[in-house]
């Protein structure tokens, strides 16, 4: 279970998150919607420990452990995974090596044995197949020369291999066609189990047709201004955020 209480954070001394309260119980998928610039990505970064974001107040715990005092790699070992809105390119780093290094780092942290190249490749190929990704994506350098859609799929591949207990997907559906969208939804649905939770940041109702959330929250100016069931997403699709913005003003 993820529990966020009064979380406030700034970047370059500019307050972005201004007191977030959010609980995602184990086994649930919650969607976060909201206009550009409202702080959605910031929330994902703060939870995963990006250094340039300074937490100025509040708490965030995952299964009772304080996330905010942990290093990013410790959070990953604890089961957190962030699918980046804009995945980072790593020139000179082979994708398969990158994925294996990450998986083995997490296995090590859990006291599990590391996978050798052969074992890993078998696993990775099974996942790329399931995600309908071309095998050559494993051979290329991490995200270098990938199309927007390929980058997003590569995030889903990482998630599928690392099998997190809390996945934060930051607009992983943006710019994807309907087939790719289903792949993303399937990727998350495949991980669904009682101890898995997900926070899905999206602008589109479409994804939520395949990945039905337990709750939908609207983030505006660094605060959650409304929460509701899956119908809230449908409502926002029709009416937009104008009303909420007017209310907040």
């Amino acid at each position: 279970m993820l529990e966020i209480r009064g979380l406030a954070a700034s970047i370059n001394e500019k307050p972005i998150l201004k007191g977030i309260d959010l609980t995602v119980p184990a086994g649930e998928v919650h969607a976060i919607m909201g206009p550009n610039g409202s702080g959605k990505s910031t929330l994902g970064y703060v939870l995963s420990g990006r250094e340039d974001y300074v937490v100025t107040g509040g708490t965030a715990t995952f299964n009772g452990v304080d996330l905010l005092t942990m290093e990013p790699e410790q959070r990953a070992a604890a089961g957190l995974f962030l699918a980046f809105q804009a995945p980072i390119e790593l020139p000179g780093v082979n994708n398969a090596n990158f994925l294996r290094t990450a998986l083995n780092a997490i296995r090590r942290a859990h006291g599990e044995s590391e996978l050798d190249a052969v074992q890993f490749l078998k696993l990775a190929k099974a996942e790329t197949k399931r995600l309908a990704m071309p095998d050559d994506m494993l051979k290329r350098n991490v995200n270098v020369g990938f199309s927007g859609g390929e980058k997003k799929r590569n995030e889903v591949l990482q998630m599928a291999l690392l099998r997190p207990r809390l996945a934060i997907l930051d607009e992983t559906d943006s710019g994807l066609d309907i087939d790719a969208l289903k792949i993303v939804a399937d990727g998350v649905n495949a991980l669904r189990r009682p101890e898995f939770s997900a926070l899905v940041i999206t602008h589109h109702q479409r994804l939520l047709d395949y990945l039905v959330p337990n709750r939908v929250h609207v983030l505006l100016h660094g605060r959650i201004v409304r929460s509701g069931g899956p119908e809230l997403a449908k409502e926002l699709e029709k009416s937009g955020y104008a009303e909420l913005i007017a209310e907040a003003a």
Binding site: S48, G49, R50, E51, D52, E71, P72, E73, R75, A76, A77, F81, L82, F84, P87, I88, L90, P91, G92, V93, F98, T101, A102, L103, A105, I106, A109, Q158, L162
Partner: protein, 416 residues
């Protein structure tokens, strides 16, 4: 025993009559060396080409010329990541027939007396003057026209605390090919001051790979002159990992239409290591191409130097010159000095140069760490990636793998 330039000169006077070869040339070199001194030594002249690198520590060191080898050359040789290919082995600057396996085609031989070639100007570079003064032997590779010489390794092992001045000559006839892999290693406090004269005739291709992994207390100075004729290619890559102080100097002259010179390098330095890569590329014929990418990874208090000069003569139209110097600083105390120079007298040319100096990218670091990779491992992945891009310049996969292994070795030494 005197140290510094006068120590070398005294020794020269002592052996003058016994040295093989052209004594007038040696005397001229000695006069030039006497006038110049060791670069950076307070007793010597200030030399612009040695602005960032001082050999003062060489001047202060005492080299025991007569010392018996203190280390087992055979053991050092056995530990080298050599290729399954012919090798020419020098121990303490002297050809060791028993350790060598010369190419069956017979194009390689030992020069009992230095072949001073035609390309060098001993009075221009003080360390070349010193080499000309004291050189006793070297390797001669004469690949006949249209012959493919395959891969030949030139290994230098230093086993004594002495100074060595090998003089090599590499000549490729028209349309010939050769991959020359130079490896220099050693143990102790020594000076290796190599000069190589290289001639790549019309349509020939020389691939020249150098791995400098000298002892941490050693001095390594290497000067190469490459003369590249029409349609010929001189493709070089230098990996500098070792030595307390190293200077790699390359002079490439593109003298015929459509020639190409690639002078790529990577330097990995830690502690108080200093490595200087200096190049001068002369375009004297039209339609030639030169490429230089020099990457430095600098940890600790190390210092990396890149000086690169491209000279384009008036007649060298359609010259295509490119030069890039990149440095990754892993510590706030590391330093890089970059001095690119373009001297262009032709009007229809494409020449560019650039330099980047940076720390590891914070976003890339975060991306890796967010996937569970610990900070130290994430750093090493990104540094390796930076180097991998440099090593991409080495086309031969087997050779590239050997260089990668040497980089791994360097990395392990830093972790130890």
């Amino acid at each position: 025993m005197s140290t510094g330039a006068s120590g070398f000169l005294e020794r020269f006077e002592g052996v003058l009559g016994k040295l093989p070869g052209d004594s007038a040339l040696r005397a001229a070199a000695a006069a030039a060396f006497r006038a110049a001194g060791l670069p950076g030594d307070s007793r010597g002249r200030r030399i612009e080409a040695w602005k960032y690198t001082s050999l003062r520590a060489v001047a202060d060191a005492t080299f025991q010329r007569e010392a018996a080898p203190r280390h087992e050359a055979e053991t050092i040789l056995a530990g080298l990541p050599l290729l399954d290919a012919p090798r020419i082995v020098f121990v303490d600057g002297a050809w060791r027939d028993d350790l060598s396996a010369i190419p069956a085609a017979g194009f390689a031989r030992f020069a009992q007396q230095p072949d001073f070639g035609t390309l060098t100007w001993p009075d221009r570079e003080p360390m070349v003057a010193l080499n000309t003064m004291l050189a006793e032997d070297g390797a001669v590779l004469d690949v006949p026209a249209d012959h493919d010489g395959g891969v030949v390794q030139l290994v230098s092992i230093a086993a004594s605390d002495a100074d060595f001045h090998p003089r090599h000559s590499v000549r490729l006839g028209k349309g010939a090919r050769l991959t020359l892999v130079e490896v220099s290693v050693g143990q102790g406090t020594y000076l290796l001051n190599t000069v190589a004269e290289i001639h790549v005739a019309e349509g020939a291709t020389l691939t020249h790979i150098r791995l400098q992994d000298e002892a941490a207390t050693a001095f390594h100075v290497s000067t190469a002159y490459a003369d590249v004729e029409a349609g010929a290619t001189y493709d070089s890559f230098t990996l500098n990992l070792g030595a307390r102080l190293s200077r790699t100097e390359v002079h490439a002259q593109l003298t015929g239409k459509g020639g190409a010179a690639h002078l790529n390098a990577a330097q990995l330095l830690a502690g108080s290591q200093h490595a200087d890569f200096t190049s001068v590329v002369g375009h004297t014929a039209p339609g030639c191409q030169s490429r230089q990418t020099v990457k430095n990874v600098l940890a600790g208090k190390s210092r990396g130097v890149f000086q690169g000069k491209i000279e384009v003569a008036r007649q060298a139209q359609k010259t295509d010159g490119y030069q890039m110097n990149q440095a990754l600083l892993l510590s706030p105390f590391a330093e890089v000095d970059s001095k690119p120079e373009l001297e262009i007298f032709a009007d229809d040319v494409k020449c560019s140069h650039g330099a980047t100096v940076g720390e590891l990218d914070a976003e890339q670091m975060f991306y890796l760490r967010s996937r569970g990779v610990p900070e130290a491992e994430a750093r090493s992945i990104l540094v390796r990636a930076f180097l991998a891009e440099a090593l991409d310049a080495v086309a031969d996969e087997t050779i590239r793998a050997r260089l990668e292994a040497a980089v791994e070795g360097w990395w392990e030494r830093q972790a130890a």
